[in-house]
């Protein structure tokens, strides 16, 4: 069994990360009734003896003593991390896993990436190495950060390039929260584009999440739960936004949105942690979903968003789950994949779902989904037998789809609006190590990425002839 290390950078990264750990504990408590430290727990937690000062670890198989998260928390201001350390999750982290500073990055990518990146390089590598050494077989680094600010975006991408340098064999899956159009950080387009350049270069795959989509989903659930239709009560702990049953008490703002991100990570790793009839390891995600090295931006969608409290779940509901995964409302970015071109699609199913259910739904939905000509049957499926808390089954769809192009184009537009006027540029150029070429390189990279998606889109309507075969002389 392999282990994964979560690296959370910046305010957003740490808040979302925090929700991940809470929900992970909740999920394992639900499944692991005997209190034994099993392989599944081992993938994200160490089991230590807190009485000993060196924190000696226990191997798999014994009772749970004291769980410590396999994580590194980085933030350039103390507020968020301090809050975590004062909250109910304080036991899960120890001080050697944290790296903080006081003044923050001022929403400036250059400060995060260059100033702090250089100042803390040694310490960061040190902490990452320690986390890696505590793993038997490290398979994946999960980086969680936002793109719009200074720390998550700047220092986060610096951490990403360090990960590639120091641990080139280990998969890097990045969850990036993109800002909405009406973001209150004026320089978020600069930060996002500068960060994207690094993501394109150093990440194995990027799970795209847009704030606006998270907001929409949260509102949708709120409307459902306050609705007055009889028999339509939502099972409280089943909503993808709910943290109920976890350690933390009252919900804080953004918790609901961050819970969605946490659930995304739990579902992606479920087939690697728990057993099922068709397993999917983390290294299979990049293998199947990334046909060309730079096109590794994936669109996630989660269903169901909640379970109704009424009992009977007829098969129709199961098929509905598959349909929903492809609907606009369930995507975690503001896009409609059904009207763009699919390069590849992965379906990660959890719970009591059999291969025939998956086959039936693929056959049903396939005609309405445009796939690129050389990957007409491009589906990767996995079946994990353990459902998430509060549900009998769930589905996570990860699509490599050209619908990310509009998102990137919008970002480019917002960037250009500012860059044309050289607005706020001096804040960046004043930072030591930062040059204007970073900006031009970053926008060039984004342009070429958009071009590549554009080329693929162009093949959509065209009827591509089959590739020539070899004819054997007789």
């Amino acid at each position: 069994m392999t282990q994964s290390v979560v690296v959370q950078v910046g305010q957003c990264g740490n808040q979302a990360g925090c929700r991940f750990w809470d929900l992970a504990l909740r999920e394992h408590a639900h499944v692991n009734k005997r209190g034994l430290y099993d392989e599944a727990l081992n993938s994200f937690f160490r089991n230590v003896d807190s009485r000993k000062s060196d924190g000696a670890e226990f191997a798999v198989g014994g009772r749970i003593q004291h769980l410590k998260a396999r994580a590194v928390l980085v933030d350039m201001e103390e507020g968020v991390v301090n809050q975590i350390l004062q909250g109910p999750l304080r036991e899960v982290f120890d001080s050697t896993q944290l790296l903080t500073d006081v003044s923050g990055s001022g929403n400036n990518w250059a400060v995060g990436n260059m100033t702090y990146g250089s100042a803390y390089r040694e310490k960061i590598v040190d902490k990452l190495r320690k986390a890696a050494e505590q793993c038997d077989c490290l398979q994946c680094f999960f980086l969680i950060h936002s793109m719009g600010g200074g720390t998550g975006s700047g220092l986060g991408t610096r951490v990403l390039s360090l990960l590639e340098e120091e641990f080139p064999e280990v998969c890097r899956v990045v969850t990036s929260i993109y800002p909405s159009g009406e973001d209150d950080v004026i320089t978020s387009p600069y930060n996002s584009v500068l960060a994207m350049n690094k993501l394109t270069e150093h990440a194995d795959c990027v799970l795209l999440v847009e704030n606006q989509s998270l907001v929409d989903i949260v509102n949708k659930i709120k409307v459902m739960s306050h609705g007055t239709k009889p028999g339509l009560n939502i099972k409280r702990n089943s909503a993808v936004t709910s943290g109920q049953g976890g350690l933390s008490g009252a919900e804080k703002p953004f918790d609901a949105m961050n819970n969605i991100v946490a659930n995304l990570l739990l579902n992606i790793t479920s087939s690697a942690r728990f057993e099922g009839s068709l397993n999917m390891d983390l290294n299979e995600i990049a293998m199947n979903l990334v046909p060309f090295p730079r096109l590794h931006y994936l669109v996630p969608s989660l269903t169901p968003l909640y379970t109704l409290a009424d009992i009977n779940v007829p098969t129709r509901r199961l098929d509905q789950m598959f349909s929903d995964a492809f609907s606009k409302d369930h995507q975690l970015i503001q896009a409609d994949p059904k009207h763009s071109l699919y390069l590849a699609c992965a379906l990660m199913v959890r719970g009591n779902v059999q291969v025939s259910d998956v086959r039936r739904n693929i056959e049903r939905l396939r005609p309405s989904l445009p796939f690129v000509s050389w990957n007409q049957e491009g589906w990767k499926t996995s079946l994990c037998s353990v459902p998430p808390v509060g549900h009998s089954h769930s589905l996570l769809a990860l699509a490599n789809n050209t619908c990310v192009k509009p998102t990137f184009m919008e970002l480019r537009e917002r960037f250009t609006k500012l860059y044309r006027k050289k607005a706020h540029l001096h804040h960046y150029l004043h930072v030591e190590g930062m040059e204007q070429s970073f900006f031009s390189e970053a926008i060039a990279s984004l342009n070429s990425l958009i071009e590549e998606y554009h080329h693929l889109d162009a093949t959509k309507a065209r009827l591509t002839p089959d590739a020539p075969r070899l004819s054997i002389a007789r």
């Binding site: 009839s277 068709l278 293998m287 046909p291 086959r359 990957n375």
Partner: protein, 463 residues
């Protein structure tokens, strides 16, 4: 004589476990002493306490499936896997053939070879080796190919049969066609015979014949295991004088074109491999078993040998892989009208067939016209092309059952489809960087495509 089975990857291990389960319960049923003894000797060795331990190795690059298979076997109470007969690592092959073949295979070569040696040494006489794997993933396909190569190196004169499970056409793994093509091309050089089950076909059997509503991989695997068991369990040949055939896989030293010739001194017996895979260009075998029906219906059905054989014959020539929707219009062409094209005519020409009949009144059963020369290619005398095994012991609850193992054009269409798709994907070089990363080149891809185009051409030309 014993058979050692190597189970590779998730599919290989899951199917293997079902296979041993079926073989064990079939062997232990009723009072068929000689049959049971032959079956147990072939597939299990007995501990001092009389417990049955499978002659098998479980190999996978991650531990979850092996753990599950071993515990399910132990739970059955009737048999188990050897406690140390397994090899696993922590991290899988990531659905990447090159990762399995170039990295994991060589890395763990010694450990796996050691396990194989130990298992083979426990056998009095080795009949041959069976490697079970899927072709869609990374371990079964990549590591499986590498292990087959090792087996070939260590046991150059033993039979090696590869059992392959082909994935659903509509995808379980996006790069499945690359993995499949790379595997098949390499195995063609290494294996004696390649026996294929297609998930699509087995799935249809589950839904149409067995009436299973929610088909799971266990259901699919159990059907595959049933079909495999019906060919691997002991049977009698015309010349074995009442003794169960000692080597189900074959006898080396038989000349290519005379597989079924009796040599009483050597106690020759039915030869699965040497009868069917008698020419190096033609190694693909398919099988179908009838009847297949929901166990609740078996009690209410009666079967006759002529009826079963008539259906089986028509299934063979019309290339219908299950007993439903058989096209009765297809007939063997008149001598002059033998067509050579892939699509022209739906008649399925056979190179060789092995018919296995099990159950009540089997001695009265005839060949059902499956030995008719019109069904076979013209360049192999039908006497050599057709073999018949019988066993009076009913198999797996069916009073009478008939299995046909064919070396014919049955797999031509699925193979051709697979190769067509692979060219399409390769033309855009999609995913190729993932394979190059682990050590194979574009040349290797092209070589594999070429080999398979050759195989397709050979089979299309059969007439």
């Amino acid at each position: 004589m014993s058979v050692v089975t190597v189970q590779l990857g998730q599919c290989g291990n899951q199917v293997g476990q079902e296979l041993f389960d079926i073989i064990c319960s079939d062997a232990q049923e009723g009072q068929r002493k000689t049959y049971s003894a032959a079956s147990c000797e072939r597939f299990f060795h007995q501990t001092a306490q009389g417990d049955l331990v499978a002659r098998a190795l479980l190999v996978d690059m991650e531990p979850k499936v092996i753990n599950r298979s071993m515990s399910m076997a132990a739970k059955s109470g009737r048999w188990s896997y050897g406690a140390s007969s397994h090899f696993s690592q922590k991290q899988g092959s990531g659905n990447n053939w090159a990762n399995g073949y170039c990295v994991h295979g060589p890395c763990h070569r010694d450990a796996v070879e050691e396990l194989v040696r130990r298992e083979v040494e426990r056998c009095d006489r080795l009949a041959g080796l069976i490697a079970m794997m899927s072709v869609a993933g990374g371990t079964g396909s990549g590591v499986g190919t590498y292990v087959t190569q090792c087996l070939r190196d260590i046991y150059p004169s033993s039979f090696i049969l590869n059992h392959l499970t082909w994935p659903y056409g509509t995808g379980e793994v996006i790069v499945q066609n690359y993995n499949s093509v790379l595997t098949l091309a390499h195995l063609y050089q290494l294996s004696d015979a390649i026996l294929v089950h297609e998930n699509d076909t087995v799935h249809r059997i589950c839904s149409r014949l067995l009436n299973i509503k929610h088909i799971s991989f266990s259901d699919v695997n159990r059907v595959i295991a049933h079909q495999l068991g019906s060919i691997l369990q002991p049977a009698l040949t015309a010349d074995s004088h009442g003794a169960y055939s000692r080597n189900p896989l074959g006898e080396k030293g038989q000349t290519l074109l005379t597989p079924a010739v009796v040599d009483r001194r050597l106690h020759t017996h039915g030869e699965l491999v040497s009868a069917l895979a008698c020419h190096p260009e033609y190694k693909l075998l398919s099988l179908c078993t009838i009847p297949q029906m929901a166990s609740s219906s078996i009690a209410y059905s009666t079967f006759s040998w002529p009826g079963l054989l008539k259906h089986l014959r028509q299934m063979l020539i019309s290339n219908t892989k299950m007993e439903e929707g058989i096209d009765w219009q297809v007939r063997p062409p008149a001598d002059s009208g033998r067509s050579r094209s892939l699509t022209g005519g739906s008649f399925n020409t056979s190179l060789a067939n092995l018919l296995i009949l099990r159950g009540k009144d089997v001695y009265s059963a005839e060949t059902g016209g499956i030995d008719d020369p019109a069904l076979y290619t013209s360049w192999l005398p039908s006497k050599e092309a057709f073999s018949l095994w019988k066993s009076p012991v009913p198999f797996n609850k069916y009073e009478k059952s008939a299995t046909l193992v064919s070396n014919s054009q049955a797999l031509l269409r699925p193979l051709d489809d697979m190769v067509g798709k692979v060219w399409n994907m390769f033309a855009s070089r999609a995913y190729v960087h993932q394979y190059i990363k682990f050590g194979i080149s574009e040349e290797d891809f092209l070589d594999s495509f070429t080999s398979l185009e050759q195989v397709i051409s050979s089979y299309s030309q059969l007439c």
